[in-house]
Amino acid sequence: MDFSFTLLIILIPLAIFCVLGLFGSRVKPAVAGIAGTAGLFIVTILSYYTAYNYFSMFHAEDGYLPIKAFSILWLTFTDELQIHLGVLLDPLSVLMLVVITTVSLMVHIYSLGYMKGERGFQRYYAFLSLFTFSMLGLVVATNIFQMYIFWELVGISSYLLIGFYYERPAAVAASKKAFIVTRFADLGFLIGILLLSFNTGTFDFAILTNVAGPVIAQTTSTVFMGLSVTTWAMLLIFMGGAGKSAMFPLHIWLPDAMEGPTPVSALIHAATMVVAGVYLVARLFPIYALSAPDALEVIMYLGSFTSLFAAVIACTQLDIKRVLAYSTLSQIGYMMVALGVSGYGGEAGLGYMGSLFHLFTHAFFKALLFLGAGSVIHAVHSNVMNDMGGLRKYMPVTHITFLIACLTIAGIPPLSGFFSKDEILVAAFEHNKIIFAVQWLVAGITAFYMFRLYFNIFWNRTPAFEHTPHESPATMTLPLIFLAAASIFAGFVPFHELVTSDGKTFHTGFHWMIAIPSVLIALAGIGVATLLYYKQNSKAENIARSLKGFYTAASRKFYIDEGYLYLTRNIAFAFISRPVAWFDRHVVDAAMDLIGNSTVQLSGAIRKIQSGHIQLYIWFFTSGALLLTLIILYLN
């Protein structure tokens, strides 16, 4: 069938953005909100429709083929290197469509309540639409350059949304940081694209990821510093992904990004944008798997380390949004690991499948967590755990949904998180035992810090609220409920029949040997958390004190930010930019001035020759004449 209508999925948000951006200030806030939400509702319907049609088009057995629903030429570089803008439909992109539109819709609805009465409500919705537009454009990209284009757009819209409260210096700083860090990563991405496209002569995914195609078939002859050029290219491209997905060491922007409105964090920094890196790797997976395995190794170790590292930090944070942010890091780490351990095709592609499966489920439960946290914050007007506690009485819906989310992320069967995490662990186990061990441990830590969070919010001591918190309005609770449902049932989606590394479905059994230990460690984590935080007590402090240095280090995020700060402020600025500015003024410019001034000085110096004495003049005349004669005689 004809999928060209999918173009609307991208265009509608764009239209909303333009309308709200230009005329938003003219209309009433409510109108803008409704309009945005309505528009996105349509988009969501459309994407579901697309998904349904797409998956029902093929028979699962003989696999899914990519469909280029739409494509126009946008810019020509060289005869073969051309940018097309288009819509590519394959399981991966369809999956992402569904995820993004769903979460985005939820956030839209949620924001109606959450952002009520905020200054610049219209602007907020305009930006949301802009983001949705760019994210959708990113996932349906038909070629890597289109992806880069929307990649940048996503970055900028995230910048705008983080800095939504532009009068708050912290928000401004955070948005700046986010943009610059990701921009730095994108530099790698760009160079990677340039390398890849120059070597392969194309941007198009269809050609790039064609297993039988020339790109993968060609054994990259040129080797640079021990690695093949393709490997370099893929590593650089992954750098971009790492930036967006906040992999260590480019993760620093994500926690700060929590300065933005909470729904934004839910949408961008939990569910959608931050997984763009995963999406990128998945999109180019054939190349990684077949012609740049070294790069894949790097991805695996990086992901694994990040997940552990983030989990540890998460245990120490007090700001609930930051806890969630670090947990996001850790979960994305999981996905990366899964990709890293995966092979191409059939059973080998289990990791790939698991990764995307986890992306899918994670989107729901992490969004849920954030929105729940948002609702809490909305109630108590604070992000810090210490101001919370015992909220279960006041806001039951939030409480229940939050609990579900925590269980899901902890990987308690039969919630969705369990299944997706299970796949990943299996894949890791088959590929690399150490990695498996790490991820298994991380699972426990995850459970621990999530329930630490949970108990600190909803149980524990009840502080004195200045005004009693109350349950959030329906506009906020409905999305919570929906997402809760989603995170319960998402696990039963037959993923291995839908999204696999080679588009062909494969059969995966259930691995008791992996599942049971993972559940056990999760329960263990929960248990510890219960012990420490169910009731108010000093055990936690004791433990923290007992491993003082490590604890403070962790709570200070291992001083990474300070390091970067030093690097930028004291190296880049003080040692390059300032000297350059000085050099330009006092050397280059001074040289130019010197020429002028010295001329004037010289003229001042020789003026005295014109002394006013006739005889001197005559002397100059005659001796000049004689001298000239001499010179000419000499020259002849």
Binding site: L73, W74, L75, T76, F77, T78, L81, F145, I149, F150, E152, L153, I156, G163, Y166, E167, P169, V172, A173, K176, F179, I180, R183, F184, D186, L187, L190, I191, L194, L195, S197, F198, A572, F573, I576, S577, R578, V580, A581, D584, V588, D589, A591, M592, D593, G596
Partner: protein, 498 residues
């Protein structure tokens, strides 16, 4: 008569009208009308151009007309345009148009101001349409010299110093240029025949390489100085800082483009072998100026200085791309010229408007303007995003084309240079966001700014006309890039041979 002459006639008529009119109110109306007509005609010209092309006229230059001027030197009044010139003319007319509106509130010696402004524009138009080196040079100097009065009389700060410095450095540049041009002229008929100033004729003959090697540096540096080639760029910060708004716009937006255009049209086009063998020197210089300008911009406090340094960086990118000597990079270079022209014009316009309100250009004295003057601030952000290279705005298209083009040269030297240049996109982001953060965002630093009023209608006209063109190029770049690409095939012939 040749339709191109309208490009000269319209401004000249406008100037006459300004001279003749008596009341000062009318002056700006007249100039606005004139420049609007010019803009309109530029678009008509574009239309005619396409018409001709579609009619299958494949001549490298269209609307060519030549009348002998100085028989004994074989100087001709030869005019003609190809895609590149058309694009440049469009750019110029847009910027001039905006410039007139932005300087709506000039009231000191208003008549003279608009006269010299339009005179400057006339010089630029003449430069872009002339195919005869002599005429080209004439218009080149004609465009440079009104700058002195414009800065000196209507400028701010150390205007006399800056004006003198700018004029002398540019004239020094044209001094070198003159030597180069004379050299080209006297080598334009190596195997006998009539010497000629005619670009297209000279391009046909191949000038002896020894001569090329001698004259290429003169020509390239001569134009390069106007293109803010490191280390001859220092006129730019001071000049821009002191110049009145519209002048900064025209100068950074259009005049600096003359440099790049000339470097390509004269230096490289006529002296290909030398260009090819000396390119490495200038690649180093331009690479330096790209990064150097960006880093220089980070530390500045004065809005205009920031913008001047970023111009150094961007124009360095232009020259760099030209020196890559392949179709893509060259297209990118011209895209960058146009994009930077519009962008920086917008920047200077906004800076002028902000300065007109706050009476300071020091970013650390301002802050939180977004709350006070949202319209201007939003435009400023857009300009900033354009110069960061955000997709959907012109900057992205240009830079990407340049990078891809530059990447076509496979040897390590070019690769390293390219990667260094690429890194500028990060540095650019740093200083742009720094400015945006300090200047526009955050709390309002100074209470009395709270009662500033937002843009007036003429400011809106000026600003919007620029933003629209930036966005237009950014969203649908294909027509422009094809327009620029189509003549390059033939022009770059010699380089592909090498």
């Amino acid at each position: 008569m040749n339709p191109l002459l309208f490009l000269l006639v319209i401004p000249i008529l406008t100037m006459c009208a300004i001279v003749l009119t008596q009341d000062l109110k009318k002056v700006r109306l007249i100039s606005a009308a004139g420049m609007s007509a010019q803009l309109l005609f530029a678009f008509i010209l574009l239309y005619w151009f396409y018409q001709q092309r579609h009619a299958g006229n494949t001549a490298p230059m269209l609307f060519v007309s030549s009348t002998t001027w100085y028989e004994s030197f074989n100087i001709q009044l030869k005019f003609g345009i190809d895609g590149i010139s058309v694009a440049m003319i469009l750019l110029t007319s847009i910027v001039t148009f905006a410039g007139v509106f932005v300087s709506w509130q000039v009231d000191f010696l208003r008549k003279e101001f608009f006269l010299s402004l339009i005179l400057l524009a006339t010089g630029v138009f003449g430069f872009f349409i002339s195919l005869d080196l002599f005429t080209m040079f004439l218009f080149y100097e004609l465009a440079v010299i009104p700058m002195y009065l414009l800065i000196g009389v209507w400028g701010t700060g150390p205007k006399v110093y800056s004006a003198m410095k700018l004029t002398l450095m540019l004239m020094g540049g044209s001094a070198l240029l003159l030597v180069g041009l004379l050299g080209i002229y006297f080598n334009s008929a190596p195997e006998g025949g009539r010497l000629t100033w005619d670009l297209t004729e000279i391009a046909k003959v191949n000038i002896p390489v020894s001569a090329q090697l001698f004259f290429f540096p003169f020509t390239f540096v001569g134009f390069g100085i106007l293109g803010a080639l490191f280390p001859f760029h220092t006129w730019s910060p001071d000049g821009h800082a002191s110049a009145p708004t519209a002048v900064s716009m025209l100068h950074a937006g259009v005049l600096m483009k003359l440099g790049g255009y000339g470097c390509f049209r004269v230096a490289m086009y006529l002296l290909p072998e030398a260009a090819h063998s000396l390119a490495w020197i200038f690649i180093i210089l331009t690479t330096i100026s790209v990064v150097y300008g960006a880093f220089g911009a980070i530390w500045q406090k004065d809005l205009k200085y920031i913008n001047a340094y970023s111009s150094v960086s961007h124009c360095g990118l232009v020259l760099f791309a030209l020196l890559m000597m392949n179709e893509t990079a060259t297209t990118g270079a011209f895209l960058q010229m146009i994009s930077h022209g519009l962008m920086t014009a917008l920047f200077f316009a906004l800076i002028g408007m902000i300065y007109g309100r706050t009476h300071t250009r020091m970013i650390n004295e301002m802050g939180g303007l977004m709350k006070v003057i949202p319209f201007l601030s939003v435009l400023y952000v857009i300009a900033g995003l354009a110069s960061i290279g955000l997709p959907g705005l012109s900057g992205f298209v240009a830079e990407m084309t340049i990078f891809v083009g530059a990447f076509q040269n496979t040897d390590t030297f070019h690769r390293i240079a390219t990667i260094i240049v690429c890194s500028s996109i990060v540095i650019t982001a740093v200083y742009i966001l720094r400015v945006v953060a300090i200047l526009l965002l955050g709390p309002v630093r100074n209470e009395q700014y709270l009662k500033l009023q937002d843009a007036q209608w003429f400011e809106r006209v000026g600003g919007i006309s620029l933003v629209v063109s930036i966005a237009a190029i950014g969203l649908a770049p294909l027509w422009l890039s094809n327009l620029l690409r189509e003549p390059l095939e033939t022009i770059l012939q010699p380089f592909t041979k090498l």
